[in-house]
Amino acid sequence: MTAEQIIFLLVALFTLGSGFMVVTTGNLVHAALWLVATLFGVAVVFALLNAGFLAVVQVVVYIGAIAILFIFAVMLTRKDMRDQGPQMNRGWWVGALIAVLVFAGLFFLLQGWNGLSRTAAAIPAGFDAVAELGNALVSPDAFVLPFEVASVLLVAALVGAVYVAFNRK
């Protein structure tokens, strides 16, 4: 077992463990903080995959903005910080069963796919992934249209969020 595999297993264990804490812990502020840990684990996975830009964006956008937004929302939607009552609904075991079945189904599908044990080719010498990504995002031959649509979507979501949460008094 190589060092990279050991690092991957540790990161995967950390990510899945904190992900499990996100969905099971009773205190919602703690759940949001466990989400930060999970997102950080995913950022390390991106770094292991040589996707450096994605790792940085994960930390900046997900941890820096989305997780903080969650903590704000948790604090804005309660009168005191304690969580009363059960955090799971009555049919939680049905959800657990469906989740396990989905995982088993995905595992079964992956087992039957012959590209599963593929290993990554070495990155070509002189290949700059960030520059290539930037070119792909603004090149008319590649992804400039989805990129612009995403920016329109962000503006629409911003206006919509302000409109929905606006307090008319």
Partner: protein
């Protein structure tokens, strides 16, 4: 070198954990937390297929960035809705929000 299957199984497990959170949590904010876990699992898959496929073709990473943007938009609108519902109904328990208009 880590085989592709490890990344895919990690993503599948993370997706299932998020799905469990979405299906079994009562608090609407916690349901959105579960959705974030599912979106992250998808992003792991996209980055893994980029790395293990043709590295020169950037579609996997571009798609992951689009998912980032959609996730940010979804969280902003979703949390605004939760806060708006909390103002009107004084609850964020998904089971209690059962009327279309109040």
């Amino acid at each position: 070198m880590v085989p592709l299957s490890w990344y895919l199984i990690l993503a599948a497990a993370l997706f299932s954990i998020g799905l469990f959170g979405v299906l079994s949590r009562r608090n609407a904010v916690a349901i959105l937390l579960g959705i974030e876990l599912m979106l992250n699992a998808v992003n792991i898959n996209l980055a893994a297929f980029w790395r293990y496929g043709n590295v020169l073709h950037m579609a996997g990473q571009v798609f992951a960035i689009i998912v980032f943007a959609v996730a940010a938009a979804e969280v902003a609108v979703g949390l605004a809705l939760v806060i708006s519902v909390y103002r009107k109904r004084n609850t964020v328990i998904a089971d209690d929000i059962d009327l279309m208009k109040w």
